[in-house]
């Protein structure tokens, strides 16, 4: 299966002259992509199963680098530029990379780290401009070898590394290709970071259907992507639902001209009013809601939406996550928590971290998703979490990951983060217990956090109290703190 998949991927890329990359007037074919890939491959020196970080933006050469790393049987590790160094350092110490390919300036600390740890540093643009070429000839990859490693927020303050084997993610791609009626020559939107694993969907489905990728590169395009998808004639849209909700917010009653015939929605609860907007205002023929986790091979459930869902699931207010994809086994424990096993389950976190998330039951290994699900009218729905993990703009965030950092700030004794979802935009808030004599300014604490956390993890509002509510065991009473916040009892 693995060999056939990669032979097919290679054939689709190497033997096609159809567009591979479109960004307004910039367009490159697969033939041009393959020519660059061979040059990059020449610099990989025939190595296999090496952990290769790609630190880059969404220029054409970066896509060629990603496919080169994957088709040479190395392990792709996407890193989004702009991460604060202490966090990136924690990730690199866990990963122990062999090579870093980059096309944007590397932070000085990253460069120094690579040099002191014998990590090869290579500039993608220089590789792509070289003379030497090496074709891709061997596709006998072992299904249990790693294909890529992605990082997710961890409760200890250091992100967790999630290795995905070839078998893990190929099962998801095979499912997507069977379920979704792609046409040849689609244009896939590429909205999110590569380090958000929705990227796996379009990075593989696009070449395998002879389709182009159309990246959204600038922050301002990301805010309101209408001009981007109109001008690039995007036919397959994929994003978290809040991107659609933003368009809906500003243009609630208009029909938005576009070329979509498929919308692939995932990563967050998908509200029925946003589905209505996809169907009626974006006039999208096929809308799918996918649900899954990085640890279990991107997506594990799907639901093909229909106009009938609007009435059928009205009581819930949300689109169901639907039914499991083939190759995934599920069970619910006594708390209603979803456990997943099957061929998409990661072997383990890097360095064996958080082994308690995996449990062997009756000889089968299961992953505790932390999501509570229930069945309603024959379909599965996500109900909430068993822990303090939240989702913001599709990013999975362990609130404790933030709280660990907040507690390091002088004068802060305790910290509890929460998400205020009472308004249309979710707001990340932090309540701090401070020392009696401490004077703490929100601005200072935000600036300190920005040195350790990506921007989306820095709380927008801070509240300071002298005594945090605790339960009889002395533990922080998170429920009471939430109540105090929503009652407006915090200042």
């Amino acid at each position: 299966m693995t060999q056939t998949f990669y032979q097919r991927l290679h054939a689709c890329i190497s033997a096609s002259h159809s567009p591979a990359y479109r960004y307004f007037e910039q367009e490159y074919s697969y033939a041009q992509m393959y020519a660059v890939m061979k040059k990059i491959n020449a610099h990989l020196n025939g190595c296999t199963q090496k952990k290769i970080v790609i630190y880059g933006d969404k220029e054409f050469e970066v896509y060629a680098a990603i496919y080169s790393v994957i088709l040479s049987n190395n392990i792709w590790v996407p890193i989004t530029p702009g991460y604060p160094w202490p966090r990136l350092q924690g990730m690199m110490e866990l990963l122990e990379p062999d090579m870093v390919l980059y096309n944007t300036p590397l932070p000085e600390e990253f460069r120094a780290y690579a040099e002191s740890h014998s990590v090869a540093l290579k500039n993608i643009n220089e590789m792509a401009a070289g003379e030497a070429e090496a074709p891709f000839t061997k596709f006998d990859f072992r299904k249990n070898d790693s294909a890529y490693i992605m990082f997710t927020s961890g409760s200890t303050g250091v992100p967790k590394g999630v290795p995905m084997t070839h078998e893990n993610y190929i099962n998801f791609i095979d499912n997507a290709l069977k379920i979704i009626p792609f046409r040849k020559g689609e244009v896939f939107s590429d909205y999110h970071d590569f380090a958000f694993d929705i990227s796996i969907f379009y990075l593989f489905c696009a070449p395998l259907t002879g389709s182009a990728l159309s990246p959204i590169k600038k922050d301002e395009e990301r805010i309101f992507p209408v001009a981007h998808f109109q001008k690039n004639k995007v036919t397959v849209w994929s994003s978290v639902p809040s991107v659609i909700a933003r368009i809906q917010k500003l243009r609630p009653a208009e029909v938005i001209q576009n070329d979509f015939h498929i919308s692939f929605i995932c990563g967050e609860p998908f509200r029925l009013d946003v589905l209505r907007y996809c169907l009626e205002n974006l006039r999208c023929e096929k809308v799918y809601n996918f649900y899954g986790l990085t640890e279990t091979g991107v997506e594990n459930f799907y639901h093909e939406c229909s106009p009938a869902d609007l009435a059928r699931f009205d009581e819930k207010g949300f689109v169901p996550i639907g039914q499991p994809l083939l190759g995934n086994e599920i069970r619910l424990n006594a708390d209603g928590e979803l456990l997943i096993s099957g061929c998409q389950l990661t072997p383990m976190y890097l360095a064996g971290r958080e082994a308690h998330r995996f449990e062997v039951i009756d000889g089968t290994r299961w992953y505790h998703t932390g999501d509570i699900v229930e069945k309603y009218k024959g379909e599965y729905f996500c109900k909430g979490r068993v822990d303090s993990q939240v989702k913001l703009s599709g990013y999975r965030i362990e609130l404790m990951d933030i709280e660990v950092q907040v507690r390091h700030f002088p004068g802060v004794k305790e910290a509890v983060c929460l998400v205020d979802d009472s308004q249309s935009a979710k707001l990340l808030v932090c309540v701090c217990e401070k020392a009696a004599d401490a004077v703490i300014e929100s601005k200072a604490i935000k600036a300190a956090l920005a040195k350790h956390l990506p921007e989306y993890m820095v709380p927008k509002k801070f509240f300071f109290v002298q005594d945090m509510p605790r339960n009889t065991n002395g533990k922080l009473d998170r429920k009471r703190i939430r109540e105090m916040y929503f009652q407006g009892a915090l200042t």
Partner: protein, 84 residues
């Protein structure tokens, strides 16, 4: 007129009221942008654009929505249309 729309105009009370209301902030300065105001995120930006459209009876093009991410740019846009 370029960025020299004077600070007094930029802080036109009507514009300031809309900015404060849509962005849920207590104060805003003439040189603030989506980068400098924590609560000015992409969803609040849509709230702001909708509020401006309603108040000034304009309809923004998609390109304008992604460009009007600073107080200065908004003031200039309104100024050029004789709305400020």
């Amino acid at each position: 007129m370029n960025d020299a729309v004077d600070a007094k105009r930029m802080m036109d009370p009507r514009l300031k009221r809309i900015l404060l209301g849509a962005l849920l902030v207590d104060d805003i300065a003439a040189d603030d942008t989506i980068e400098t105001v924590d609560l000015w995120d992409s969803m609040r930006h849509m709230e702001l654009m909708a509020a401006l459209e309603q108040e000034y009876k304009v309809v923004f093009e998609p390109e304008e929505i992604i460009r009007l991410t600073s107080v200065r740019a908004i003031a200039k846009f309104l100024e050029e249309r004789g709305l400020l």
